[in-house]
């Protein structure tokens, strides 16, 4: 972490051995090496804090304001809830997203949407997420989005997912609906050849 005066703290976090990480994740040794080299290059202290996360993300999505989405992502990555993402957290989450089963991926996505981690997604949470995604796309999309587009999208989502119409989407409803939806299933296979 960086103190107020801008001095670099002497926190240096080292991940556990390569072998235990290979067991925890579905990456091979070489892949973990490549990942770690990139990670260490950008974050020599061994941990990422939220600001670094946001700045990295903003470099990939320069047109819009990706800070909100990066914040939600950070919360999802930070499994230990201490404000820092270590390489293990990073590798484990990436392993789930890129190499996990469809159920694992959907579970992870649900965890991302469930902002207060109480097991169900409310309309407000979904609106926040949707707004952050639309913010990230920026104002210069073609065709350009209406201001009310996020809200309509949320309504459409809830209509699809909320089977018992109780105003919240639980994990079972989410999994059930997604597994029946062909588009979503097809999209999930996108991750197969990343990395």
């Amino acid at each position: 972490s960086i103190t107020d005066e801008g001095e670099l703290s002497t926190v240096c976090y080292r991940p556990e051995g390569l072998d235990s990480l290979v067991q925890q994740t579905k990456f091979s040794k070489k892949e973990l090496q490549v990942l770690y080299r990139g990670f260490k290059n950008e974050c020599p202290s061994g941990v990422v804090n939220e600001d670094a996360f946001k700045s990295i993300y903003s470099k990939f999505f320069p047109q819009g304001d990706s800070s909100m989405y990066a914040h939600f992502l950070f919360e999802a990555f930070d499994t230990t809830n201490n404000g820092l993402v270590s390489f293990e957290d990073f590798a484990v989450s990436l392993s789930i997203i890129l190499r996990g089963s469809i159920t694992d991926k959907l579970n992870w996505a649900f965890n991302l949407y469930d902002l207060n981690k109480d097991g169900c997604i409310t309309k407000e949470e979904m609106t926040d997420i949707m707004q952050s995604i639309y913010n990230m796309m920026g104002k210069h999309t073609y065709p350009s989005m209406r201001v009310s587009a996020p809200k309509e999208h949320v309504d459409c989502f809830f209509q699809k997912m909320d089977k018992n119409q109780d105003g919240v989407v639980t994990i079972e409803e989410f999994l059930e609906t997604c597994q029946k939806d062909e588009n979503i299933m097809h999209s999930m296979h996108l991750f197969d050849n990343v990395i």
């Binding site: 990942l35 990139g38 939600f72 996505a109 991302l112 997420i129 999208h153 991750f191 990343v194």
Partner: protein
């Protein structure tokens, strides 16, 4: 995109999981890299010193020699390495650029050799990091000035098709171009010296006649000194007019420091001619004669060292200005304090704050 951030690409792609379940349409397939090589070490042999780096590191900057396929021209099949017949010391900076994304300029390195290496490896010098940019720019400027000086020295051959005006200007600016210029240079120098000497000698008390008190030489031999002064001023006027005629940009010439000094040096004489023997104005006229001493500054055309002194003062003008300002502040503060401290006392010399300025200045400059 910063080079190091490219390593986070899998993470950026993975973040797409966030909007996949909410997307209404199926997502397009991500592009796969065609020749997805496994990351491998490559050896760069630069004049015998071997550098090793990952291929991905070099691929970060594909518009440079090492990042593009241009390096294949230097590949040595027998030793399976890339051989470059260049300077290994400068290559360190070049390779560090790929590693860290920042190009540094080492101080001990010669600027032109550094530029050559950068040009060879296809790296634009403008991306030098802020930490080293000032140094690089300074050295480059010095080098450019040195080159310009060298070029001027080598201009022995007369440039073709120079008008008379241009020849004159060149002669004035650089006395070594022709004999006439050299003669002119020495003559004006001589007359400057004579003029300054006259001003000085004018005030020396000459031998007195038995019944009169000692008078300065200026009053004793008025006519002689006046003739001398006239001769000098005529030479200076002619010189100034000739320079004005020859100057390529007359307006700029008139604004330059040297021409202002010239004008100030000869003006008192003309004003003296024009003015009548009016008592009131003659006081001012005497003051004007002080300005004749400015003729000594005309020597700066003849002396490189004096000009360098002038440049030095100009370049640290802001620091000197600040010094003056802080001294003024201190003087005002202390003068005020002294005035109010001594206010009670009746025989105090500090009758007002400006009156206490003198005391403050004299004390602060430790004159006493």
């Amino acid at each position: 995109m910063a080079a190091g951030v490219a390593a986070w690409l899998p993470f950026a792609r993975a973040a797409a999981i966030g909007w996949m379940p909410v997307a209404n349409l199926p997502m397009p397939v991500a592009p796969t890299e065609k020749n997805k090589r496994q990351d491998e070490l490559i050896v760069l042999n630069v004049s015998g010193r071997r550098f090793q780096t990952w291929r991905n590191t070099l691929d970060r900057y594909p518009d440079t020699l090492l990042g593009s396929s241009e390096k294949e021209f230097f590949y040595n099949e027998d030793t399976k390495e890339y051989f470059f017949d260049r300077d290994p010391d400068v290559f360190r900076s070049v390779l560090n650029f790929y590693r860290t994304g920042k190009l540094h300029y080492p101080r001990y390195e010669c600027i032109s050799s550094y530029d050559e290496e950068l040009a060879f490896f296809g790296i634009v010098p403008e991306i030098i990091g802020d930490c080293c940019y000032e140094e690089y720019k300074d050295r480059k400027r010095e080098n450019a000035e040195r080159l310009m000086d060298d070029q001027e020295d080598n201009k022995d051959a007369k440039l073709p098709n120079m008008t008379f005006r241009e020849t004159m200007w060149r002669a004035f600016e650089n006395p070594h171009t022709s004999t006439m210029a050299l003669v002119f240079y020495y003559v004006t120098g001589f007359f400057i010296a004579v003029s300054v000497m006259t001003n000085v000698v004018e005030t020396v008390p000459c031998g007195s006649s038995p019944n009169m008190k000692e008078v300065p030489c200026g009053e004793r031999y008025t006519v002689a000194f006046f003739c001398m002064d006239t001769a000098c001023v005529m030479i200076f006027t002619v010189e100034y007019l000739m320079r004005l005629f020859a100057a390529p940009n007359r307006y700029r010439f008139m604004r330059s420091v040297m021409s202002i000094i010239d004008v100030v040096a000869i003006l008192p004489y003309y004003i003296g001619l024009v003015m009548t023997d009016n008592e009131d104005v003659s006081g001012a006229f005497v003051t004007l004669r002080v300005f004749r001493v400015f003729r000594i500054f005309k020597f700066s055309r003849h002396s490189q060292g004096l000009r360098i002194l002038g440049y030095t003062l100009k370049s640290c003008a802001s620091e000197l200005g600040f010094l003056l300002f802080s001294l003024t502040m201190a003087i005002i503060i202390f003068a005020t304090v002294m005035f109010y401290a001594e206010k009670g006392s009746t025989s105090s010399k500090f009758t007002s704050i400006p009156a206490s300025f003198w005391y403050t200045i004299v004390t602060m400059t430790t004159l006493g």
